[in-house]
């Protein structure tokens, strides 16, 4: 990290705040803590941050509302934290502009990875690379040339559009509805069988073992994520 990124943590549990501060500071971030929604929103309005870690279960204002309020002016990554049983909340959060999510309990390594990839996607969004390499796969977004182990792979236009979406959001979770809107258009909302079928085809063409995917990962009940790291 060349410049220290400023992270705002909004969580009502003191133990979680302490732990997040320790974790993030030891990873080289500057951390500000807020213990409720009002405190968090005020902080976000008055200071400049590079990312926010937001707990959805806040005592004063619903986390989704906080997210929407901040999203109005802030473009930087917002990562939401939530309990396992509220998949719907997570999907709503992601569709309302959150960049990623973590379910409690989460591993610190996972939190750092999500934060890193969100920051990278955000900071490189202005100058996207046209040639992307994921291990043995190389993708040229300009010429539509895709190679795996040097061998050319042929994709249909829809598959290519889907792949482009994944590559541009590498590391970030994409909800079914987001994918459907971006690739097929707004009329296809709710038709998640399209994403399932086409992700299956991408896996067949690009994964080493389509039954045990390493790149195109399913996020239970939420959507997909393209893994590029490690």
């Amino acid at each position: 990290m060349n410049t220290q990124n400023q992270i705002l943590v909004i969580d009502d549990e003191i133990q979680m705040r302490r732990l997040l501060r320790t974790t993030l500071e030891s990873a080289g971030y500057n951390v500000t803590l807020a213990e409720n929604a009002i405190d968090g929103i005020r902080n976000a309005e008055t200071h400049r941050y590079d990312a926010i870690v937001l707990d959805l279960g806040l005592p004063d204002i619903d986390g989704i509302e906080v997210l929407k309020k901040i999203r109005v002016w802030a473009q930087y990554p917002i990562i939401i934290l939530s309990a396992r049983t509220s998949e719907e909340d997570i999907v709503t959060g992601l569709d309302s502009g959150a960049n990623d999510y973590l379910t409690k309990p989460f591993r610190t390594s996972e939190l750092l990875a999500r934060l890193r990839s969100s920051l990278r996607v955000f900071q490189s969004a202005s100058s996207p690379n046209t040639i992307v390499t994921i291990k043995d796969i190389s993708i040229d977004l300009d010429t539509h040339m895709i190679k795996k182990n040097g061998e050319q792979i042929k994709l249909t236009p829809t598959e290519f559009a889907l792949l482009t979406l994944f590559v541009r959001n590498a590391g970030k979770v994409l909800t079914h509805n987001y994918i459907l809107q971006q690739v097929w258009g707004p009329k296809f909302e709710g038709e998640s069988q399209y994403t399932r079928v086409y992700v299956g085809q991408l896996r067949k063409k690009l994964e080493d073992d389509p039954n045990n995917p390493k790149y195109f990962i399913t996020e239970s009940g939420i959507g997909y994520r393209l893994i590029v790291e490690e």
Binding site: S192, R196, N211, N212, G221
Partner: protein, 495 residues
């Protein structure tokens, strides 16, 4: 024949005056016939015939008409048959004796026979009623039989109030009652109930009503109140009162029987829920305490400065394992609560079953690291409408089970295929399998196979079953013919 006799008896007994006409008419009729044959019979034989008529009448009509028949026949015999004819004077002294004997015998026969008849009628009614009560299967049956029999036999309207198992009177009449009541009537019924005394009409207590209320006494507290409203407004005779009390005594003992049944059932349910609560409490407090103890002692160990790096790593792993165990417990409890609340509505969406199985296997990567997992999924498997989260949890629980109760190196084979309109998932391990007696109880809440290692709540499989059934599917456990445990899941595929 009995039916004919009964219908004849009924039609006659309906009007009181009809009975008198019948009695006097029969006597007159038979007397005229006897008068014709008097020369051949002799007047003493005539008296025997007349006695026969009176005795026969007593089989059909009530006491008063029988008495009239006895008197009329005695007078006729005296006037027309005993010499001198056509006077009430009696010539021979032995005939005076005969005349009075005739009258007394006729009266006694008549009275006794009607009384025996009444008793027989009462006994039959009581017998029929008791038989119905014995056949009653629940409190409602008893109430219905009571109301039906009393209202029919005593020609009354009936209102019946029962008591609750706790000994309070139910303030709304039982639905089988044949009349409506108002608040005033209900308060009289309540009085009769709480004081266990008769109240209402024909009674000193609260007589300003058309109905008489009889408490149904029980061993601990009254079992109810019967309100009786006589339709022809004629107070019961002593015999009828006695019979009604017999009826009520029968009702009381049957109600008591039914209430005891009900109480026993409740006690069993209560005992079961208490057992469940105890099991829950024991297993959960144990399941909570063990990892907490591990966290506490491992973190204390970490605090000691002298520990080597390797030792510190061990402590950290210990804390991690404990935390994961706690998390699994909380998730199981949450899942169980969702199932128990009965509000588990699967959010069905198109899913690739491959994804579901892989997600489960990935979740348990660490637990399954010592096992050889082989996932085999049919190539042309269609997408299925499933709740991803629920199905993933169900399969995770099954795999977790296999990881916990089979030795390291055990093979676990997961197969997914389509069979007609069903999704067919099998999970087969090469472990020791289940003891035969465990197979039936495997999916019961809190059931753990006896002799298995410590740790675990016995909830995992019952949650898996619940989640699969929420998809209208089924799960069965068996021992594979080649050894090892086998789970078969079937889920209907809706095209």
């Amino acid at each position: 024949m009995p039916a004919l006799k009964e219908s004849l008896g009924n039609s006659i007994s309906r009007s009181a005056s009809g009975q008198y006409y019948l009695a006097v008419g029969t006597v007159l009729c038979i007397s005229s016939i006897l008068y014709v044959f008097e020369q051949h019979l002799g007047y003493q034989t005539v008296s025997l015939f007349l006695l026969l008529v009176v005795a026969s009448l007593s089989l059909i009509v009530r006491v008063a008409p029988v008495m009239v028949a006895a008197t009329v026949s005695a007078l006729i015999w005296n006037f027309f048959f005993i010499p001198p004819h056509f006077t009430f004077a009696i010539g021979l002294p032995q005939d005076v004796l005969l005349f009075f004997s005739y009258f007394i015998i006729a009266a006694i026969t008549g009275i006794l026979t009607t009384r025996i008849r009444a008793r027989e009628r009462h006994a039959t009614a009581l017998y029929t009623f008791t038989k119905q009560l014995v056949a009653a299967k629940n409190l409602d049956d008893v109430a219905e039989a009571a109301v039906r029999n009393i209202s029919l036999f005593f020609n009354t309207d009936i209102v019946l109030y029962l008591s609750t198992l706790e000994g309070d009177i139910v303030t709304t009449p039982h639905p089988s009652s044949t009349m409506n009541t108002n608040e005033k009537e209900q308060s009289i019924a309540s009085w009769a109930y709480w004081n266990e005394k008769k109240a209402g009409k024909y009674v000193d207590m609260l007589p300003f009503t058309e109905t008489t209320y009889y408490p149904i006494s029980g061993p601990r507290y009254p079992l109810g109140v019967i309100g009786v409203k006589i339709k022809n407004d004629k107070q019961f005779s002593v015999n009828q009162e006695i019979l009604l009390h017999n009826f009520i005594a029968q009702i009381a003992s049957t109600l008591e029987r039914e209430q005891l049944n009900e109480l026993t059932k409740r006690t069993i349910v209560y005992a079961e829920s208490e057992k469940l609560y105890k099991t829950l409490f024991n297993s959960i407090s144990h399941e909570l305490r063990t990892p907490i103890a591990a966290i506490v002692s491992a973190s204390e160990g970490l605090n000691e400065q002298t520990q080597s790096t390797a030792r510190r790593k061990e402590f950290i792993d210990e804390i991690h394992t404990a935390a994961e165990r706690l998390n699994r417990l909380v998730e199981n409890l949450l899942d169980m609560t969702r199932l128990e609340s009965g509000q588990l509505a699967p959010k069905l969406d198109w899913c690739d079953v491959r994804d579901v199985v892989n997600a489960s296997a990935k979740k348990l990567e660490k637990e399954l690291s010592d096992h050889i997992v082989n996932i085999e999924i049919a190539e042309n498997l269609p997408l299925a409408k499933l709740d991803f989260g629920l199905m993933e949890q169900a399969i995770t629980n099954l795999l977790h089970n296999a990881s916990q109760y089979t030795p390291a190196g055990t093979k676990i084979a997961i197969k997914v295929l389509q069979r007609e309109h069903e999704l067919f998932i099998t999970i087969h391990d090469t472990g020791p399998g289940f003891p035969a007696e465990a197979l039936k109880k495997l999916f019961e809440k809190f059931y753990r196979v006896p002799g298995t290692k410590a740790g675990g709540t016995g909830l995992g499989l019952s949650i898996a079953k619940g989640f699969i059934e929420a998809h209208k599917g089924s799960i069965a456990a068996s021992n594979h013919s080649n050894g090892g445990a086998m789970f078969e899941i079937k889920i209907p595929l809706n095209e």
